[in-house]
């Protein structure tokens, strides 16, 4: 079961990588408007590295928490940038959370989202309204927590998470940035979606697809 779970997470990271690569230019364009135009590059490099690292391991032998740990260090070593420490810390926290429950149950899935968000928040010392990826991740976490409390189905939960993340990302358009490079633009950051929030939605969508698909027979 946990070997199977590790495979599932590996598929998840593969899906994220494909989705991010498809959005690479769009994400860099968003970053070009208020930052330094490299967000698509940093994200795709990071997830490529994660997949490269996972390809080196026998997924039958490792735990889901280890998949996240490997992802953390691979992402970090590949990227630097703002996103390296943020997602590396997110994945480390997710690994810690999974150590308590390696099953990838619905609750564990919610815990992954929560842990990632808290990792991003700790590392970047940011909050909602800063016009960063947290404006997608925090609402996503709230939706995950609410779904767990309601004992929603997997697909209901992920519908809620994605919807919340997407609305959150869109809301960054009317925010003035106070974190990251865009903070130096002041009012001029208005009218642009934050690239990190946009890529968070891409990630969450790929996670949703992974966790809600029928597990393929292997």
């Amino acid at each position: 079961m946990s070997a199977n779970a590790a495979r599932r997470l590996s598929r998840m990271f593969h899906r994220i990588s494909v989705a991010i690569s498809a959005e690479k230019d769009h994400l860099s364009d968003l970053d070009g408007a208020i930052g330094d135009a490299d967000h698509g590059i940093t994200m795709s490099l990071g997830f490529q590295a994660v997949n490269g690292e996972l390809a080196k391991h026998d997924l039958d032998e490792i735990l889901p928490s280890e998949v996240f740990s490997l992802a953390a260090s691979a992402f970090l070593d590949a990227v630097g940038a703002s996103t390296g420490p943020l997602y590396a810390t997110a994945f480390r926290k997710a690994a810690q959370a999974l150590k308590r429950d390696e099953t990838l149950s619905v609750a564990a899935q919610a815990a992954i989202v929560e842990a990632m968000t808290s990792g991003i928040r700790d590392r970047g010392k940011g909050q909602r309204g800063d016009k960063t990826m947290l404006d997608a991740w925090i609402p996503a976490t709230e939706a995950a927590a609410a779904a767990r409390d309601r004992q929603s189905s997997v697909s209901d939960m992920w519908d809620g998470i994605l919807e919340a993340a997407d609305a959150g990302a869109r809301s960054t358009r009317s925010m003035v940035a106070t974190r990251g490079r865009a903070a130096r633009l002041g009012e001029r950051s208005l009218g642009h979606i934050d690239p990190g929030a946009a890529s968070a939605v891409v990630i969450i969508k790929a996670m949703k697809e992974t966790f809600t698909e029928n597990e393929p027979a292997e």
């Binding site: 930052g35 490299d38 970090l76 630097g80 420490p85 990251g180 490079r181 633009l185």
Partner: protein, 330 residues
């Protein structure tokens, strides 16, 4: 976008290799090329380490050498190096007296250097000094607003000189922190730049537009303004700096920095205007630096930096330095 490059993927590695080969007198690659290090370390000296994204050359690799940095880590273009690079630099250059990390104040750089410091903390004594010399911007909020730009080299030079003279880690940390109210910079761009990976320009200016308040990452600045003559532009930069700097006693050091595509003759012309402005404001300018020190790829533009230094700091500034980009006294 014509540049001298082969592929965007290999550009930084090839350029850095050229740099190391050209300056083997001072520098060498660290293990696995994770950093550029000083060829001959001084045992017992605090290691001074900096780094940041590529695209700002000669900053920081051009400052590795006697009297300045012990190592510099280079990331992708405009992208912080990774914690593993920084840890490697710490391990190679800490000879026992600890390490001072000089970090330009960007969330990305700060987070990567902080993670590296956490990772190496068990085995090394580490302090971090943030370089944040850019003028105060619109919503600086909790004071994390000012980013590190060309003035960073002044911090690197002074801390490097003090370390060379034997200052201990705690003193260097305190010295570094004391510098930030006394160094201010502001930049202007005549053109945007294209990040090679994306082939997109970060912003595009009309033939009659300039971008005021830019940093060194091709990002837009505070405002787009009509192109004007050099007097108008450079006085604006100078005035904003003089109004923003907190301390104006001591000796003035004036740095006019090219952003990559602006030739020396224009930088010297700008220097004249900035200097005249400062002197007319009763400031004493006694040290100067004019050149491309902290670039933003091939951006046409420049920045002006003013710093105020005590007598003692001026003698640190004047003490011997032997790096690829700054050299005197030896």
């Amino acid at each position: 976008m014509k540049k001298f490059m082969n592929t965007a993927e290999t550009m930084v590695a090839e350029s850095t290799e050229g740099f190391v080969r050209a300056h083997e007198e001072f520098v060498a690659f660290g293990i696995d090329r994770k950093c550029i290090r000083r060829r001959h370390l001084v045992p017992g000296k605090v290691a001074i380490i900096s780094g940041g994204g590529a695209g700002h050359e000669p900053m920081h690799i051009g400052f590795v050498g006697r009297g300045m940095l012990d190592a510099a880590c280079v990331g992708h273009i405009f992208t912080s190096p990774t914690p593993s690079q920084i840890v490697s630099a710490i391990e190679e250059t800490d000879t026992g007296a600890g390490c001072l990390l000089i970090v330009k104040n960007y969330d990305g750089d700060v987070m990567n250097f902080e993670m590296a410091a956490e990772m190496a903390a068990g085995r090394h004594r580490i302090e971090i000094v943030l370089a944040c010399d850019d003028i105060e911007t619109v919503r600086a909020g909790d004071g994390r607003g000012r980013r590190g730009v060309a003035g960073t080299l002044i911090t690197e030079r002074l801390l490097g000189a003090a370390a060379e003279q034997g200052a201990p880690l705690a003193a260097l940390k305190a010295f570094g922190d004391s510098l930030s109210p006394r160094i201010r910079s502001m930049g202007v761009a005549l053109t945007g730049v294209a990040v090679p990976h994306t082939q997109r320009t970060t912003f595009t200016l009309g033939s009659n537009e300039i971008e005021m308040g830019v940093g060194i990452h091709g990002e837009p600045g505070h405002s787009r303004e009509p192109f004007a003559n050099a007097d108008t532009i450079v006085r604006r930069l100078s005035e904003t700096i003089v109004n923003d700097i907190r301390q104006t006693t001591g000796t003035g050091l004036l740095l006019v920095n090219g952003l990559g595509g602006t030739p020396p003759a224009e930088l010297y012309l700008a220097y004249k205007i900035a200097r005249d402005f400062m002197v007319n404001h009763g400031l004493r300018i006694e040290r100067s630096l004019v050149g491309a020190y902290a670039t933003s790829l091939d951006m046409q533009g420049l920045s002006v930096t003013l710093a105020f230094l005590s007598e003692e700091e001026i003698s640190l500034w004047d003490s011997p330095v032997a790096t690829a980009a700054l050299r005197w006294g030896c």
